[in-house]
Amino acid sequence: MQLKHRLVLPLALVLSAVMLYPVAFSFWISLHDYRLTRLDDVRWVGFENYKFIATDPGFLNAMGNTITFVIGAVTLELILGLGLAILLQRLVRFQNFIRSTLLAPMFITPIAVGLMFRFLLNSELGVISHYLGEIGITVDWFGPQLALFSIILIDVWQWTPFMVLMFLAGLESLPKSPFEAARIDGASAWLTFRCVTLPMLRPVITVAIIIRALDAFKVFEYVFAITRGGPGDATETIMYYIYQAGFRFFRMGEAAAAAFMLIAVILVLVIALVKATKSSTAGRNNV
């Protein structure tokens, strides 16, 4: 064995132990009727679990809710994060103080955020509902129409600072000369943003979207703490579905199959996003 291979070997072994083996074992589980309360009766079922999951209305609903959540939350976080980052970059005084304050929500554990908003938005006991009521606004935050949107807003509250952080770092690393050229050419602020800032920031935006989208696909804590997936199944997300199947009903085969189907969906979306970004960049370079 060559030296370079021997040097890589320890890392390969560690990765195999902590990643490859669990993934392979999960795949093996997904091909079996594997229930934690019936370990003496584990049976090979092939792709039956996948077929069951694919036709389960609960899974399809949870996948739909999750995709809606990811698109809604990441889009809002992108817009707000970019706007705040641009404002913060121009801020001269109190910049560090405001940056630290804005980042605070990120440091709260999501389950605590969920519990906090469960009571803040409570129709009878919540502060937010109370003050909205004072001005004649009544909102059923966790009713069937708004519940998923409310969960999105909570995620936006917590994770927009992450976007701000990413975009601020990106904006500060951009070269100054294109902006000076745009100013000399008399470009408006909007034109400068659209034709200079945004294209140069595109790689950062792509990375930020991918990181946030991957994280948003895992949404669980808010659902668990606030709605338990309800009313009905209006806020049931894919992670909550997998948690229920695996850790409450102990149907590990189905839970593993659902997890692999989620991985497939995420892979497709990430590849599509990266390809779209690359083709857009290539197109711009050709121009």
């Binding site: 997936g229 009313p231 409450r248």
Partner: protein
């Protein structure tokens, strides 16, 4: 010099001998337990047990309900149990017993003089019996009762409702713009199932018939769901579709609701002076669920099949659930599970009064669990999801219950 050097060595050897003997005899019992008011009482009583048995150390791993099920599972799957004693919620009993996680207790019970297993309330103790073997002895009950603001009922000259229709009329009449007749818990899953099933019982319904056929979508069930939705729409706080136990309790303790269907042992907590209810303490009373038959919940003590020292574990379990200690636990505020305790005049006098224990006796006389079977937890979630969809107008009651029946069949495939 030689003698002086050998003395410390001899002392060390002697100490090691004593220490190893002590370690052999000492027992450490690890117990998983839910953080509820009864746990605090059990903890205090356990100090006495440890004082009387200095070679035994009892350690509690107290946690919220949501964390318990998977902890018990992982302990049961391990070659050697993490917990020597576990508590088991009634939907889990059959599942855990049939999975082989629990040790049968019949021989231990038979060998325990004065334990008097028959003294446990029948509806409660039968939950621990699976296929003729006893896997759990009752810890505390959480049967549902009707908790009311008696001062409001007295002021309005209202009778305590004994039928579900009378209850619906009463709570509707008490509801105003900022005060509500019923603090309900229509949160998806367990909570709504637990609450709605009292309506189902009142209409003579059940999840399965005597032959095991699903009857959750029959006429009685649809009527019960329509009544439940009407109660929510006419007497519960607006926009409370995600309310669970915490929110309903806060509504009662803060004086914005007149009644709630909840665990009987919440009454002492609501009436505690200086407690959550502030000036309202003392105004709450407990009654049987309208319609008579109540939803019964029970936590049982059990011994994991893979526990190392079952004798020591049973010694503690048989002590904490013995008639004598059960009586003292009830006086300290615990939820009784023994008939002798419920009928004990000392308990009435030193506990929460005759009315409370008589109401509780009435509740336990006609109470049944949410459902049974090896996947009871899953069935409760399935039905609770569909009930929530109906209450939030996403489905009609008949559609929701038909979907629930289909999903139960699918889960039982």
């Amino acid at each position: 010099m030689k003698t002086r050097n050998s003395l410390p060595a001899f002392a060390a050897l002697l100490s090691a001998t004593f220490l190893s003997t002590a370690l052999v005899n000492a027992a450490e019992l690890n117990i998983i337990i839910e953080e509820v008011p009864d746990y605090e009482i059990v903890k205090k009583l356990t100090d006495e047990y440890m004082a009387a048995n200095p070679d035994v150390t009892v350690k509690f791993d107290a946690m919220p309900f949501d964390a318990m099920r998977d902890k018990i599972l992982t302990s049961s799957l391990a070659p050697s149990a993490t917990y020597d004693v576990i508590i088991i919620d009634n939907p889990w009993m059959e599942e855990f017993a049939k999975a082989g996680y629990l040790a049968p207790l019949d021989d231990y019970i038979a060998a325990s003089d004065g334990y008097n297993f028959d003294d446990f309330v029948g509806a409660v103790s039968s939950i621990g019996v699976v296929d003729g073997k006893t896997y759990g002895v009752p810890y505390y009950n959480y049967a549902l009762g009707l908790i009311v603001r008696q001062d409001i009922f007295d002021k309005e000259g209202l009778e305590i409702p004994t039928t579900i229709e009378a209850y619906m009329d009463t709570v509707k009449s008490l509801t105003t713009e900022d005060f509500f007749g019923a603090a309900m818990q229509p949160q998806k899953g367990y909570k709504i199932m637990e609450e709605w099933k009292n309506w189902l019982y009142a209409n003579g319904g059940e999840v399965f018939d005597a032959d095991g056929n699903i009857i959750i979508n029959n006429e009685a069930a649809v009527k019960a769901l329509n009544q439940y939705i009407e109660t929510y729409n006419t007497a519960a706080p607006k926009n409370s579709l995600n309310w669970g136990f915490d929110e309903a309790l806060r509504a009662m303790s803060s004086g914005t609701a007149a009644t709630m269907l909840s665990y009987n042992w919440m009454l002492p907590a609501l009436n505690a002076e200086g407690g959550m209810s502030g000036d309202l303490a003392g105004n709450f009373t407990l009654h049987e669920v309208p319609g008579g038959k109540a939803v019964l919940g029970t936590w049982s003590w059990g011994l994991p099949a893979n526990a190392k020292d079952k004798e020591a574990a049973w010694d503690f379990v048989s002590w904490i659930s013995s008639p004598e200690v059960a009586k003292r636990r009830a006086i300290m505020g615990g939820a009784p599970v023994r008939t002798s305790v419920l009928e004990d005049e000392t308990v009435w006098a030193e506990g929460y009064g005759e009315a409370y224990y008589k109401a509780l006796t009435g509740i336990l006389d006609d109470a049944a669990p949410l459902t049974s079977g090896t996947n009871a937890e899953e069935l409760i979630e399935i039905i609770g999801t569909e009930l929530s969809a109906a209450v939030s107008n996403q489905k009609t009651p008949q559609e929701a219950l038909d979907d629930a029946a289909a999903a139960v069949k699918r889960a039982n495939r």
